[in-house]
């Protein structure tokens, strides 16, 4: 009867999250973060998955609400979710939009990518090396690459950081943070997509570097993405405005392209993103309705995906894993906002100058949601304990990046004796410590 319990948990949490109690809880920024960032779904997923109960010392098979076998069978659904996310990311890259972005945005993106690759690549390399005690780079390459690629960019959500009395420069900064965040996500997917197969497994299962093979596979996936996009374009036109038919076409395209990528041992998000980019830049007029439809389903897909991520994660990361997550989170919080402020002020040449003390810079500390999708795609390709634990590190560091600034701000407010430095809904006010 375990599965009934699982349904009751899901329905119970659904009721809870929409009840009066949580409505009151949502007045605090901390609870807004916990209830709306997909963390609740991840937590429920973790309870349902096969790895949570062994962590608390319960090892009987009956305690696993979703068995590893059922998990295995949900792989096609997981591929569908990853494909959906990839296409959604790709659809953002409409050529007219990309062309209209200011030079400042590109410069900040370049600066952030360089910083992320150097700083977080270094942290990942040292951290994973200490954790695994590996004597070569090849076995830890996928992990290092994942943590490096995922650190590029930041969450595009800035509404919770906006000030009540925003000025024109605040609005400009808001655009810069959101646009750079979105492009950072694209870059993260590309870096992992291109770099993942630099290391492959040989016939004996040992890790080996294979640069030529990686280039070949990337070119191949590019060609296949073009073909799928052309096919998708035709099917979208055929589906017209009927929602049911649009759903078939979209599900078909995303799972097809994600499936092909997985078959070729490449991250499915990358192939799906390429398809999305090509799809959105092909001439025609039926894509707009299609985009609206996809965006409408975003929350549904995100929730289900977060649930699956929770099921897949392995929380047994130990002290080294915990330390790695903490270092990544602290590095993001301490370095990224300050660096972004510096890069943005240097890159933006418009007058009046961008503000120096806006809480919007704090947004740079938060992980891009695509990081989670990338980590899940790595688990899908190689469902090892190491990758499942890396997923936990990604989730944990993401949560810490959301929570630590809030705690820091509260502590700062208390130290200053100013309890009213945040407004009742939790949105920061001008002058709050950034």
């Amino acid at each position: 009867m375990d599965i009934f319990l699982a349904i009751l948990i899901v329905i119970g949490l659904g009721l809870l999250s929409s009840g009066r109690v949580t409505y009151r809880l949502r007045r605090s920024r901390l609870m807004v973060v916990l209830l709306s960032g997909g963390w609740l779904a991840i937590f429920v997923g973790m309870l349902l998955g096969p790895n949570f109960f062994p962590l608390i010392g319960v090892t009987e098979a009956e305690t696993t609400l979703i068995s590893p076998r059922a998990l295995l069978e949900s792989t096609p659904l997981l591929m569908m979710g990853l494909g959906w996310i990839g296409v959604m990311v790709g659809l953002q890259l409409r050529w007219e939009v990309v062309r209209s972005l200011s030079a400042g945005i590109w410069k900040v993106l370049l600066a952030d990518a360089s910083l992320s690759i150097l700083l977080f690549g270094g942290i990942a390399l040292v951290g994973i090396h200490l954790w695994t005690d590996a004597d070569a780079l090849a076995p830890i390459w996928p992990g290092v690459l994942l943590l490096t690629a995922g650190s590029i960019g930041w969450s595009m959500e800035t509404r919770s950081l906006r000030m009540a009395n925003a000025t024109e420069t605040d609005a400009r900064l808001d655009t810069l943070i959101r646009a750079t965040g979105a492009l950072g996500g694209v870059l993260a997917v590309t870096v992992l997509g291109l770099g993942y197969k630099i290391v492959t497994r040989d016939a004996d299962g040992a890790f080996v570097f294979d640069l030529t093979g990686a280039i070949g596979r990337a070119a191949l996936i590019g060609v296949l993405a073009v073909l799928v996009a052309l096919l998708g374009r035709f099917a979208i036109g055929l589906a017209g405005k009927d929602r049911g038919h649009q759903l078939v076409v979209f599900l078909g395209i995303v799972v097809f392209v994600a499936g092909i990528a997985t078959q070729l041992d490449l991250p499915p998000v990358f192939a799906a993103m390429l398809t999305g980019v090509i799809l959105v830049n092909l001439k025609g007029n039926s894509i707009e309705g299609f985009e609206k439809f996809i965006v409408k389903a975003e929350f549904t897909v995100a929730t289900m995906f977060a649930l699956l991520a929770g099921i897949l994660l392995d929380p047994r990361i130990g002290l080294p894993g915990l330390a790695l997550a903490l270092v990544i989170a602290l590095a993001r919080i301490l370095v990224k906002p300050a660096f972004t402020r510096w890069a943005a002020r240097r890159s933006d040449e418009q007058e009046p100058r961008l503000p120096d003390d806006s809480p919007l810079y704090l947004g740079a500390a938060r992980q891009h949601p695509i990081f989670l999708a990338l980590a899940v795609s790595v688990v899908l390709l190689e469902p090892s304990a190491f990758n499942a634990r890396l997923l936990t590190i990604v989730i944990l560091s993401g949560l810490l990046c959301e929570l630590l600034p809030i705690f820091a701000r509260r502590a700062g407010s208390r130290a200053l004796g100013d309890e009213n430095s945040t407004d009742p809904r939790g949105a920061p006010t001008q002058g709050a410590p950034a």
């Binding site: 009934f4 295995l72 069978e73 792989t75 590996a134 799928v228 099917a235 009927d242 097809f256």
Partner: protein
């Protein structure tokens, strides 16, 4: 029919297939090992777990921990799912433009993409769209589709209508069911006469086993009925009565199947014990000895070896204990499924009343949970979903509208996927040696359905044109029939006749699967109950 758009759609299907095959070839997936399973009896293949696929291997991760790599079949499943969704949908559109039902298109694409046709076209070593392991990995997604279809079908059953039309529903059901049972049962009795089971069990045993097979022939598909009613937006006495009968028949079928299977397996066990006394089981003959012998077939030798092992280990149960275990299992399955359905329906209604938000998520997750529940607890997804839909639409009418409206929006991909997956299970290769019996079975079943329904309509006083065409609703077969056929095979697999009977049943189900939707759509059109054209 417009030729150019049709050709363009067919071109798109060809391109889709080409890309999928190209990807498989480039991935360098081993195909020989996977496709070799297609020669095995279908039940054996379906009982294998995806985890036991041959293409996975043990690897070591960066922490030095070993894990099993995902098998090629599992990794290819995404491509297979995409091909099935897009290809079935496109072919459905093509066939709808020439007057067929879209379901026929979904089924045909599934058949063409399946491993059976694949082995025909490219040979066992070739690269084709869907392999057996992929097919098995799609099972949970397929169960999800069944849960959603069953919820809708259950929701369409209004108890007020069933009460009003009880006389015609029960009479048509009784006559049609009985006549199909008798006619197919007689055919199977003739077919089984002269086999080992007749020799050692006598005519009664043969008749009991034949009746189990006949029960499979009485089954029809609530999913096809529901999908066609949804596609054609048909409404009227024929549509409503046909759906009510189909659902009621499904419940009746489980009970009758449980009873006949219990009786037949008891009789078969007795026959097996008689055979054990006659055959040299101590020590049992080897296959080489059997080949040298004119009297024993290899099948009988295997049976004798098994009986000897079972006698030794004490596993050969008495007929009464076996009877009670099968009966209790099937009763548990039926009762448990209905109970779970009531619970799921109640929970969904409670959720809609109290929360209502994120209904698509809750429905998809709920259906996924129903599929998982059924798998974990050995229940019937179809019956859980049917009962849940029935409970919601009849006990919580105002609330249920939102739920069914949401499911309606999901219906196109659900139907496309479900019927395409059903199509992939068809293997034309098995038709070869038994085609004459297949034609006989299909024709006799068709005649019995027509005759039984006509009789039931006459006695109940059902008015034409509904009475003239309602029989077409009972022709289609799909998942339920296939599942029952597998149970029959697993029950009697030791006997030589099981292979042939299973192949006959499979082929007949495949033909009914194809002609059923065409006939039912024709029936709905002729009865004047179709409200809009399919496309």
């Amino acid at each position: 029919m417009k030729v150019r758009p049709t050709l363009t759609k067919l071109g798109a299907i060809a391109a889709l297939v080409a890309v999928a095959i190209l990807a498989r070839m480039l991935a360098g997936t081993p195909t020989q090992v996977e496709l070799s399973a297609s020669g095995d009896p279908p039940s054996q293949a379906s009982s294998e777990s995806p985890a036991s696929e041959p293409a996975s291997r043990l690897l070591t991760d960066a922490l030095g921990l070993t894990f099993e790599s995902p098998s090629a079949g599992l990794l290819e499943t995404g491509t297979g799912l995409g091909v099935l969704l897009l290809g079935a949908w496109l072919l459905g559109k093509v066939l709808a433009s020439v007057g067929f039902s879209k379901i026929t298109g979904y089924l045909i694409f599934g058949i063409l993409a399946g491993p059976g046709v694949g082995a025909w076209i490219v040979g066992k070593d070739g690269t084709w769209l869907l392999t057996k392991p992929q097919q098995e990995n799609l099972q949970l997604v397929n169960d999800l589709a069944i849960a959603l279809i069953a919820l809708t079908a259950g929701g369409e059953i209004k108890l007020s209508f069933v009460r009003k039309a009880f006389r015609s529903i029960s009479l048509i059901l009784a006559f049609e069911f009985t006549l199909v049972l008798l006619v197919v049962g007689a055919l199977m009795t003739v077919l089984l006469n002269g086999t080992v089971i007749a020799e050692y069990g006598g005519l009664v045993t043969v008749m009991l086993v034949a009746s189990v097979i006949a029960v499979v022939a009485t089954a029809n598909s609530p999913a096809v009925v529901m999908a066609l009613l949804s596609e054609t937006r048909a409404d009227g006495p024929m549509a409503r009565t046909a759906l009510s009968i189909t659902v009621c028949k499904d419940l009746l079928l489980i009970i009758v199947f449980a009873v006949t299977l219990t009786l037949a397996s008891t009789a078969a066990t007795n026959a097996k014990q008689t055979l054990a006394e006659d055959l040299p089981t101590d020590p049992p003959p080897t296959l080489a000895e059997a080949e040298a012998s004119d009297e024993l077939t290899a099948q009988e030798v295997l049976l004798a070896q098994e009986v000897a092992e079972e006698l030794e280990s004490g596993e050969l149960k008495s007929s009464s204990s076996k009877q009670s275990s099968i009966a209790s299992k099937l009763t548990r399955q039926l009762g448990g499924s209905m109970l779970a359905g009531v619970l799921v329906g109640g929970l969904l209604a409670f959720y809609v009343r109290k929360v209502k938000s994120f209904l698509p998520i809750v429905l998809v997750l709920g259906s996924f949970a129903v599929a998982l529940i059924s798998k974990e607890l050995g229940l019937k997804t179809l019956i859980v979903g049917l009962t849940a839909g029935l409970v919601m639409s009849n006990l919580f009418q105002t609330i249920a509208e939102d739920v069914f409206h949401t499911i309606e929006e999901l219906s196109v991909p659900v139907y496309a996927l479900f019927f395409a997956v059903a199509g992939t299970k068809v293997d034309p290769g098995v038709l070869g040696g038994v085609w004459i019996f297949v034609v006989l079975l299909v024709t006799l079943r068709l005649g019995a359905i027509w005759g039984g329904t006509a009789l039931g309509c006459k006695v109940s006083g059902m008015e034409p044109p509904a009475s003239r065409w309602i029989w077409t609703a009972f022709v289609p077969q799909a998942g339920v029939s296939l599942a029952l056929a597998i149970v029959v095979y697993e029950q009697f697999y030791e006997f030589k006749f099981a292979d042939d009977v299973f192949n006959i049943l499979l082929s007949a189900i495949a033909i009914n699967e194809l002609i059923g939707p065409i006939l039912f759509k024709l029936g709905l059109v002729r009865a004047g109950e179709v409200r809009s054209k399919g496309d």
